[in-house]
Amino acid sequence: MNDRQDKPAVGPLLLGKSFVHPLFDYLLIGGGLSLLVAALVYWPAATASSGDAGNLTFDERFAWIPVLILLSNSAHFASSTVRLYSKPETFHTMPFLTMGFPLVCLLVTSLCIFYPGNLGAQLNSLYLTWSPYHYAAQAYGLAVMYSYRSGCVLSLANKRLLRWTSLLPFFFMCVGGEGVGLYWLLPDSWMANPRVDLLVMYLKKWVFPALIFGLPTILFAKVWVNERRPLPLISLLVLITNGLWFVTFNYLQAFTLATIFHGVQYLAIVLIFHVRDRKQRPENRHGTFYHVAWFYGLSLMLGYGLFHCLPWAYRLAGFGVVESMLLVAAAINLHHFIVDGYIWRLGKQDSNRTIVDSDQTPGSATSHPG
């Protein structure tokens, strides 16, 4: 009888502990908004092929995308750099990353632009292969973080299952297409083998979609049974939306949509961390709006500078428009992936740990959202 009285209500446990408000967290960080927009994009795309819209040029059909890319993608890539330099103590704890790495990136980018056919193509393949891994790692980090905040302590086995589940979209992309993943790393003759082709088709059409949408459900049930409380639904949503981007759309659409919504997700979480970091400081005299405007404004300006102005410097130096734009973008992406691997660590002395620990139910965490 007492047991039944002590049990918390299922509803709040399923909803989990939000950072801002359940609606904000589920729509922006959980990826709920991307489901709505993906449906809007997918529906006209499907009807356009048979109607007059199919005659529109690429620029006309996607005229709205560049602005969204600036506000979300470009700002998000820049925001990891802004976070790296605005987070307390990073110059001391990560000296090479903060001080030596930018110059290394510039040198590698210049070298690749100089040899676009050889080095440049490799850099691009690396970035396109790493991207889905990065998104998968972010989905895992967010899922664990919300689980931890909501008091759902995951066992090692469940954490491993969550890790493998989150990586499925990455494996799906690895077997997917020319120049990416296995098609980049293995000889063409192997991948052109009809048996391999058939296997890849089977994996992409049946096995991976079944695993990507099935395993999160199994994980959810397993955690509920093992841990005696449910994984918050936002953790499940993060995993499913990341899979949905890659399974539903073709490569190009998936990369475009995934980067846009990954950017939205990332900006929301990095702003939360930045604002809480700043507001915890004893010398802080500003409110939330000031810190949000400062951080996002700086990220937006840096994003515009890096993606839209820096390639012009290479054009000024005599390089072509294609290699300048594509390889600068690839290098910024790779820089972001590497920086992210460090700035989201939850070390015991790290300010990230204090933020995740704030207003949460006790538990343990070992992961990072980015």
Binding site: F58, E178, L252, H308, L310, L316, V322
Partner: protein
């Protein structure tokens, strides 16, 4: 110490690069670097400036680097080649699209008519029949109307050709080949006068 030096060098080069890029863009285009998708506008500028071969070289680099958009790139090459009356490049681009299995039956038929037009100059009867049959099946496809327009234009039947280019533009006012065709009609009329 050396880390601090590399940091300041990296910051200086990055900021100087961004500033130089910004100024160069303003000086060249009289506008800020535009929020456009990647490199297409840059290549279109080359085409507009008459640098057709240079534009094609840039597309070759894009095929190496931007392999996810390969289909789109070949389609762009085909479009630009057609506008510049470079049928060899146009057909080569479509040949690559066939290899990539990226075209439908309609496009293949359209292509075969272009191929026929190129292969047998002066003999347009069969091409015209094929194009008219296609138009009966797909009257609202600008590409089909345009194709028929080009076949008629090649036979110097300017009024008829003009009619089909106009119909293509009524369906899609931005359809480049139709505009190109209309320009061709006007040019031919001017030559006759």
């Amino acid at each position: 110490m050396w880390l601090r030096a590399t940091f300041w060098l990296g910051v200086t080069v990055s900021l100087a690069g961004m500033a130089a890029g910004l100024l160069y863009s303003i000086q060249r285009d009289r506008s800020l670097p535009r929020l456009r998708l990647a490199y297409y506008p840059g290549i279109e500028q080359l085409v507009d400036a008459g640098e057709y071969r240079q534009a094609l070289d840039q597309f070759d680099v894009a095929i190496d680097l931007d392999f996810l958009r390969r289909v789109q790139i070949y389609q762009e090459i085909a479009r630009i080649a057609l506008q510049n009356d470079e049928l060899d490049d146009h057909l080569r681009a479509w040949d690559n699209l066939i290899k990539l299995r990226a075209i439908d039956a309609l496009t293949q038929v359209n292509l075969s008519s272009f191929g026929f037009r190129r292969g047998k100059p002066g003999d347009y009867r069969q091409t015209e029949e094929l194009s008219r049959e296609l138009r009966r099946q797909l009257p609202h496809q600008p590409g089909v109307n345009c194709n028929l327009g080009f076949v008629l234009l090649a036979q110097d039947r300017l009024d008829e050709a003009e009619q089909f280019f106009i119909q293509a533009l009524q369906v899609n006012p931005y359809f480049g080949p139709a505009r190109q065709g209309l320009a061709g009609v006007q040019k031919a009329r001017a030559l006759h006068e």
